[in-house]
Symmetry: D2
Subunit: 116 residues, 4 copies
Amino acid sequence: MIDPTLIEQLVEFRQVRNWEQFHKPKDVAISLSIEAAELLEWFQWRTDEQIKQQLASDKRQLLEDELADVAIYLSYLCHDLDIDLTQAIKNKIVKNDKKYPIEKVKGCADKYTEYS
Amino acid sequence: MIDPTLIEQLVEFRQVRNWEQFHKPKDVAISLSIEAAELLEWFQWRTDEQIKQQLASDKRQLLEDELADVAIYLSYLCHDLDIDLTQAIKNKIVKNDKKYPIEKVKGCADKYTEYS
Amino acid sequence: MIDPTLIEQLVEFRQVRNWEQFHKPKDVAISLSIEAAELLEWFQWRTDEQIKQQLASDKRQLLEDELADVAIYLSYLCHDLDIDLTQAIKNKIVKNDKKYPIEKVKGCADKYTEYS
Amino acid sequence: MIDPTLIEQLVEFRQVRNWEQFHKPKDVAISLSIEAAELLEWFQWRTDEQIKQQLASDKRQLLEDELADVAIYLSYLCHDLDIDLTQAIKNKIVKNDKKYPIEKVKGCADKYTEYS
C-alpha cells in the first residue's frame, strides 16, 4: 500500500532531524490514534448535509491534511516494524470474506452493526 | 498511496453486501478512530521490551490485522471523498518541511515534543 | 467529582491484585482513550433513531459498562496524579464562560462548531 | 459520581447558549473520545521521567484542563441519557471482581495484559 518513494521521503525527513529516537512503536501507535481523533474532529457536531458543504469549501484542505497525518504515522509504523501493509490488507479481506458471508449478511442490512 | 486493485476489491466487498448505505463519511471516520484505538490496544500496558517480544511471537498476526483495519477505513474514506492520498501526503511533507526547519529542530531533539 | 468511597474501592481492587505496577500515568491515559473508543463503538453506524431504540433495549447495560470503564480510568488518573477533578471542572467552566460569551455565541448557533 | 451542583452548572452553561440542539448522544460520545485523545497528547512522546517533570511544571494546568474536558462530556452524556454513573461504576466493580479473581491474577502479574 505504501508508495516506496514516499516512505523513503518520510524516513529521510525523520532522519535528518534526528527524530528516530522518539519513534518507539508504542509512541507511533499513540500518535496514529491521536491523529485519527483529529481527523474525526473535522466531522464533529456536523450533520451529513453540513459535511457535504464543508467538503466543497476551503476546509477540504484541512481534511486532506488530517488524512495525510494518519497515513504518515501508519506508514512509519509499518516501515519500522517491517510489515507489508498491502499483504496485511489482502489477508484481512480474505478473513472478512469468511467472517461476513454474502448470503448471510446481504438483505439483512439492518443487522450490519451486529456483523461489523 | 492506495493500490488501485485493492481499493477495487474493498469497494466490491462492500457493494456485494449492500453495505455502502452505512458508510457515511462521518461513520467511516468514527470507525477509523475506533480501529486506531484497537491498534493501540496491542501496545497497551507493555514496555518496549515486551513489545519487541510480542513482535516475534504469534501475536504479530493480530497487529497486522489491526493495521490492515486502519488502512481499510482510511482507504474507504479517501475513495468515497475522492481524495488522492498520495498527493495529500506529498503536500503534507512539504508543509512539515517548512514547519520544522532542520537547522532549528536538529540538535535540540529534546524539544521534539514542542515541535510536533 | 469522584466519590471518595468508590475511589477507595478502586484503589483497593488494584492493590490486592498487585496491579499498581502497571498503572503508569501514560498507560492509564492510553487506557482511558481506548475505553472512550469502546464507548463510541456503542454508537457506531447507528442513526439517532436506532440509538434511541438501543437505549430502551437490553443493550443499555453495555453502554453503562462502557461509561463506567471511562470513569474508572479517569478516577485512577486523577487519584494517582493527585488532581482534584471537581476543582478542575470548576476552573474549566470559568474559562469556557469567558471563551464563549453568551451574547456572542447565542443566536448564531450554526457557528457552534467554530467556537467549540 | 457527578456532583449535582456541577452538573446543574454544566446544563445551564449549555442552555443559555442554546447549545442543547448540538448535543445528540452520538456527537457527545464523539467529543468524549476526541477529548480523551487530547488528554493522551499531553503524554505523547514523553518518557515516564519527563512526565514526572511535566507534572511539576506549569504544564500541569493543561493536564487538569484536559481531564476536566473528558469529565464534562462524560457528565453531559450520563445526564442526557439518565444514567447513574456512580451506580454504573459500582456494578462494574462487582463484575470486574468476578472476572479477575484475586487468587488467579495475583502473583502472575506479568500476565496482567491477558486479563485486562
